[in-house]
């Protein structure tokens, strides 16, 4: 599995007593930047300093579960490179059903909640938020 990092900006308040709260993660199609085509600070780029004081976190491609949840393997999660006009490294976290359909599949609310918590446990800070 790839150890490539996927970057995302975050606000300081999303860390509660040194734990990243899964409330800071959205689904579906969570936006991230691929390490292969960008530097961590690129997710903070703004001509108007909109993200001053925000931080950058990352998780790795290998953190996305191939079969989930472990006790009822219905879904798979994977990164999809979705370049944007001004942000080529832009990617999204996608979900498909098992066996694969080849389409984006919206998981059930319970699985979404579980997945967001699972992923938040694997988050690391690259640039610490100050505001």
């Amino acid at each position: 599995m790839s150890t490539e990092r996927l970057f995302r900006r975050y606000r300081r308040e999303d860390y509660v007593d040194n734990k990243f709260s899964s409330l800071g993660f959205a689904f579906p199609k969570q936006s991230v930047n691929r390490e292969k085509y960008s530097a961590p600070a690129d997710v903070l780029f703004s001509a108007t300093d909109e993200f001053e004081g925000w931080g950058v976190l990352y998780f790795r491609v290998q953190d996305l579960p191939v079969e989930f949840p472990p006790d009822n393997r219905q879904y798979t999660f994977f990164p999809k490179h979705v370049p944007e006009d001004e942000m080529y490294p832009h990617s999204e976290v996608w979900c498909d059903r098992l066996p694969l359909t080849g389409e984006y599949v919206e998981p059930s609310p319970g699985v979404k909640k579980l997945f967001r918590a699972f992923l938040s446990q694997r988050v690391e800070i690259e640039i610490e938020a100050t505001a």
Partner: protein
């Protein structure tokens, strides 16, 4: 067999009764202890009330967030999620469990977080009216708490969160 008569034993020490005749110093001490206890209970009650009011104000403040508050397109909490979050706070009062933080959810809604050491839990009220929770320790697989959004189901989920956080 002759019957003998015995004089009753005299008790020369008086059994203390309810009386005000205990001396001014003792009365003063009793009064001060009572006042101190009342102040202490009042203070605990007031601080719990103040915390609870603060939490409610926080929930209502989150409703004023603008669309895209997280810069990734997150919707602001709506009336449904705010009303459910207030209901969760009401139910928490009876469980004597204080939230660590109240956050907007990037999914759209309001989340109430509990953290103690390596233990994490939250209960999330979504804009779609769902109330779901999760808890875990460290990197152990999280446990999902599903509810049907009734008071009984939310209370049951909160009790499990309390047991988890205080374990």
């Amino acid at each position: 067999m002759p019957i003998t008569y015995e004089e009753p034993v005299r008790q020369d020490e008086f059994i203390p009764g309810q009386s005000n005749a205990v001396g001014a110093a003792a009365q003063e001490l009793t009064r001060r202890v009572r006042e101190d206890l009342e102040k202490m209970f009042d203070s605990v009650y007031r601080s719990a009330k103040a915390r609870s009011e603060h939490d409610r104000r926080r929930v209502y403040a989150l409703a004023k967030l603008r669309l895209n508050w997280d810069s990734y397109g997150a919707p602001a909490p709506n009336e449904s999620s705010v009303a459910n979050a207030i209901r969760v706070l009401n139910l928490l009062e009876t469980l004597n469990l204080d939230p660590t933080r109240i956050l907007p959810s990037a999914e759209g809604g309001v989340g109430i977080c509990f953290v103690r050491g390596d233990r994490y839990a939250d209960i999330e009220c979504s804009n779609e009216g769902e109330v779901l929770g999760v808890y875990y320790v460290g990197e152990q697989m999280p446990t999902l708490l599903e509810t049907d959004a009734t008071d009984a189901a939310i209370s049951a989920a909160l009790e499990r969160i309390r047991n988890h956080i205080r374990a």
